[in-house]
């Protein structure tokens, strides 16, 4: 039985999908979102997280069953506040959001251009929604090139291939402007106070938005390929710097702006304010990390064919982890991995930079042994001892 949240399955499962579903067992599937992808891109060497996310395993309940639950979660007050803010923006066919975007994104000359807010069938299954989003995007592109209207796509659904499995992503909104450029809009409930916001939160939002830009580019290239007659700058093979991480793609994919738009409450109020968000760096990093990720099939080889995480959660230990203290803020399984890393005496438990500092000394024991006479850390150890003895 499969309690997946994807009830309207259109195609039969591929062997990989079937294997991942079996690994998940009877537990409900968690769809991979941009937050998870961004976290994965921040630690691409973690096989454990890659497989668990691809299989849609609920890491929080897995951690609880393993006996080291993480203190993750959001206060009901914060959730309510975030929902109220989003609902206000989206009320009345996104009236407030449209007004804000009109003043932020549109040049003055086209400020009066009518706006389209197509229905993206939000209650349908992911396959239908993804298809609907594709159609809406190509219609919006056509409308924009004809100069008829600009379009706001409210909660579209995009697909992105990550390490051999397909991921559904749901950006807050996408705007197709009258100039034909596409902008990713990210709605967050942290405030922009006196023109600035918490850099960690902005960074997290930018990493998520970068994932959406990548997915949007992938969708745009697919649209391009499906309609070869579409307007395409002929001969402009911008292969000047193929290796450059900042090279812009061609065709429709080039219409996706690398500047996102962050929509947040202003100061202490509930009034929305928008700010542009430069995503180029996050795009380059995320793209590189996603390409670098090992294919899920290869990672699955470490697990026995019959492994089921809902029945035997400790099977997860067969997958290698790459624990760093940064995981504590990003992964539900972090306490479990930390316990294992500490038991193994890994120096990474003391901080990400420590590994680089100690070079080949990868365990606490080896590093402490190196404080002996004539060893690598002997000088440092003697200086410390001398200073403390005084």
């Amino acid at each position: 039985m499969n309690h997946s949240t994807h009830p309207r399955v259109d195609q039969p499962l591929t062997p990989l999908e079937a294997r991942l579903a079996a690994l998940r067992g009877d537990a409900a599937a968690r769809s991979m979102d941009a937050r998870a992808l961004a976290a994965l891109a921040a630690n691409p060497g973690c096989d454990r997280r890659a497989v668990l996310d691809a299989a849609g395993v609920d890491k929080a309940s897995l951690a609880a069953r393993l006996g080291s639950p993480a203190a993750f979660g959001q206060s009901p007050f914060a959730i309510t506040r975030g929902l109220v803010f989003e609902r206000r923006l989206r009320a009345d066919r996104c009236a407030e959001l449209v007004a804000l975007l009109r003043s932020e994104l549109l040049p003055e000359a086209s400020a009066q251009t009518p706006v389209e807010v197509p229905d993206l069938l939000p209650s349908e299954g992911p396959a239908v929604r993804a298809a609907r989003t594709r159609v809406a995007l190509s219609e919006a592109a056509a409308a924009a090139s004809a100069g008829r209207a600009w379009t706001l796509l409210d909660r579209p659904l995009l697909r992105l291939d990550v390490a051999g499995s397909s991921v559904s992503l749901e950006p807050d909104a996408i705007v197709v402007g009258p100039d034909g450029r596409w902008t990713v809009v990210e709605i967050k409930s942290f405030p922009i106070l006196d023109g600035s916001a918490d850099p960690t939160k902005v960074g997290a939002a930018a990493r998520q938005a970068a994932v959406y830009v990548l997915a949007l580019r992938a969708t745009a290239s697919a649209l391009d390929a499906a309609a070869p007659s579409a307007v395409r700058p002929a001969g402009a093979s911008g292969a000047g710097k193929p290796g450059s991480p900042y090279v812009e793609p061609e065709g429709l994919a080039g219409a996706v702006r690398t500047t996102g738009l962050l929509v947040c409450p202003r100061d202490f109020s509930n009034v929305a304010v928008a700010a542009p968000l430069d995503l180029r760096k996050q795009l380059a990093v995320t793209r590189r990390q996603l390409v670098r990720m090992t294919r899920i099939e290869t990672l699955l080889a470490a697990l026995p064919e019959t492994a089921r995480l809902d029945e035997a959660p400790e099977a997860v230990d067969a997958l290698a982890h790459a624990y760093t203290p940064d995981c504590l803020a990003a992964c539900e399984l972090s306490f479990h991995c930390r316990t294992q890393a500490r038991a193994a005496g890994a120096v990474e438990t003391l901080g990400r930079g420590v590994r680089g500092e100690l070079g080949s000394l990868t365990t606490v024991e080896a590093a402490l042994a190196a404080t002996g006479e004539g060893e690598a850390l002997a000088r440092a150890a003697r200086l410390r001892e001398e200073a403390l003895a005084r």
């Binding site: 080291s68 639950p69 993480a70 203190a71 979660g73 959001q74 206060s75 009901p76 007050f77 914060a78 959730i79 309510t80 506040r81 975030g82 409930s189 942290f190 405030p191 106070l193 006196d194 023109g195 409450p265 100061d267 202490f268 203290p325 940064d326 504590l328 803020a329 306490f335 500490r342 120096v347 438990t349 003391l350 901080g351 990400r352 930079g353 420590v354 500092e357 100690l358 606490v364 590093a367 402490l368 404080t371 850390l377 000088r379 440092a380 150890a381 003697r382 200086l383 410390r384 001398e386 200073a387 403390l388 005084r390």
Partner: protein
């Protein structure tokens, strides 16, 4: 993180208890500090939920907001905070010392004596962590521009009388907390982490409970067990055994205990049942007290730990900077100046940045001079060396009219400074500032021969005690031992208009 810090952390892992990172205390701890443990309402920017505060550790005062969404209740909270905090802050303004300095009148060129006041002591607020500093800054931002009923134009929502004044003080204190080495508003976790290395990462050190568990683990348990219990241990109701030190509350506390209590309070209030409303508010108070009291005890435990360390020699001098800062703000408030602006103008911003850079350099230097462990970092990096004087030879510079003393001092050291002959070094811990240059070195034997260049008086023979003697322990650094003054900023009328000067 430096290699010596890493080494200390490794030792802490082995020992199961935190290891010293400093031999002296590098921050001032007042005799009468004022501790605050603030909690913020989740999801609302700068909205207070509760605070435990006071300078009497046995009798903390509890302030709460039973419904954080209600702005009237919020301002009532801030008014009560002002009633508690302002008398403490203002109590240091009366006792002043008078300092004289000679100033030259810019027009007549006459020298006059100017007398300035400097408060004899300054207030010290201690919060659990940097998040607490930030929250106090947010309180300051949200209140300092408010109008009160006493204003000529009070507006539709006048704030209680002393709330804007509180906002200005909080803004000043949280700004001052950005200055390296200042101690007027001290976040406890980073101060403790400066003095102890735990067997966990610096990210985990931000949890006050876990940090204290490493520094002073309970009898019979190791740091990592105690820290893990502090981070994650839960009771049968699903509540954390050691509540977080704020300003954010545990989400499970919010959803399982606080949210239902707030709902009951709202119901009683909308039914206009006053005794019941009061009872419901007291329920919320009891809940919040139960999560704040453990943190309150942790804060005072942390203060006790800091007090056990002997103060470093330069701490008093740096605290004087805090006293000047306090006196300056006291004077600005008394002179009726407007509240601090939202954004600094270019000149003020440049001044603040320059001050912070200068203070950072100064703190680094002073810590190295005060603390052999801090100096060891520089010695390991090849930026300093210490050792025993094995030979002193008098020598003279006879190039001028009268000969000057230029004695040669040979030091035996195991350190490997990045120094070539002719390179300049500075004596640390000597009777006065003293420069020297490396004359020659014997790296095999670890012998460095230095020629002293200054700090020996003006006579032909060096002043007694100014030249180290044979057998003495000395320490020299490759960097200068005082912070350089940056060039002064131009006067307002000479500042370009792009930087806030007068229009052309």
């Amino acid at each position: 993180m430096s290699l010596l810090t890493t080494l200390a952390r490794l030792e802490a892992v082995r020992a199961g208890v935190a290891q010293p990172l400093a031999t002296v205390r590098h921050r001032h701890v007042s005799e009468r500090p004022f501790a605050l443990v603030p909690l913020a309402a989740a999801g609302e920017t700068g909205a207070p939920l509760a605070m435990l505060l006071g300078s009497d550790r046995e009798h903390p005062r509890l302030l709460t907001v039973p419904q954080p969404l209600d702005r009237d209740l919020r301002f009532a909270f801030l008014a009560r905070l002002g009633d508690e905090l302002l008398p403490y802050l203002e109590s240091f303004g009366g006792d002043v010392e008078l300092l004289e300095r000679n100033v030259k009148d810019p027009e007549s060129g006459e020298k006059t004596v100017e007398v300035r006041e400097l408060c004899a002591d300054a207030p010290q607020l201690i919060v659990p962590n940097p998040g607490g500093v930030e929250l106090l800054g947010l309180f300051g931002r949200s209140t300092r521009f408010r109008r009160t009923a006493e204003d000529p134009d009070p507006g539709p929502y006048p704030a209680p009388a002393r709330v804007p004044l509180l906002g200005r003080w909080l803004t000043h204190l949280s700004e001052r907390a950005n200055v390296p080495g200042s101690s007027m508003l001290l976040p406890l976790t980073s101060t403790l982490a400066r003095h102890w290395a735990t067997g966990q990462s610096s990210l985990e050190d931000a949890h006050l409970g876990a940090l204290l568990a490493w520094i002073a683990p309970p009898e019979g348990s190791r740091g990592e067990q105690a820290a893990s219990r502090a981070e994650n241990g839960r009771d049968e109701r699903g509540q954390l055994l050691v509540p977080p030190a704020g300003p954010a509350t545990d989400p499970d506390f919010d959803s399982l205990l606080l949210a239902p209590a707030v709902t009951r309070y709202d119901a009683a209030r909308s039914a206009q049942d006053e005794p019941l409303t009061r009872a419901r508010a007291e329920e919320i108070e009891a809940l919040l007290r139960s999560v704040l009291l453990p943190v309150w005890h942790q804060v005072w435990q942390g203060i006790d730990l800091l007090r056990e360390l002997p103060p470093a020699a330069h701490v008093v001098e740096r605290w004087e900077g805090d006293r000047w800062s306090y006196t300056g703000h006291r004077d600005r408030v008394a002179a009726g100046e407007p509240p601090q602006p939202l954004h600094d103008d270019a000149v003020t911003a440049a001044r603040k940045l320059a001050q912070r850079e200068r203070e950072q350099v100064r703190v680094d230097l002073e810590e190295a001079l005060d603390d052999p462990l801090a100096m060891a970092e520089h010695r390991l990096a090849g930026q300093a060396f210490a050792g025993e004087v094995v030979e002193v030879q008098p020598d003279y510079d006879t190039s001028g009219r009268s000969p000057k003393p230029r004695p040669l001092v040979t030091v035996r050291t195991e350190d490997r400074p990045h120094l070539d002959p002719g390179g300049e070094v500075h004596r640390a811990g000597g009777p006065s500032t003293q420069r020297a240059e490396l004359a020659w070195l014997d790296a095999e034997a670890g012998l460095l021969t230095l020629r002293l260049l200054s700090g020996m008086g003006r006579k032909k023979e060096p002043e007694p005690g100014s030249v180290p003697e044979q057998g003495e322990q000395v320490c020299f650094t490759l960097f200068e031992l005082s912070a350089r003054q940056s060039a002064p900023l131009p006067d307002p009328e000479d500042t370009p208009w792009t930087h806030g000067g007068p229009p052309q």
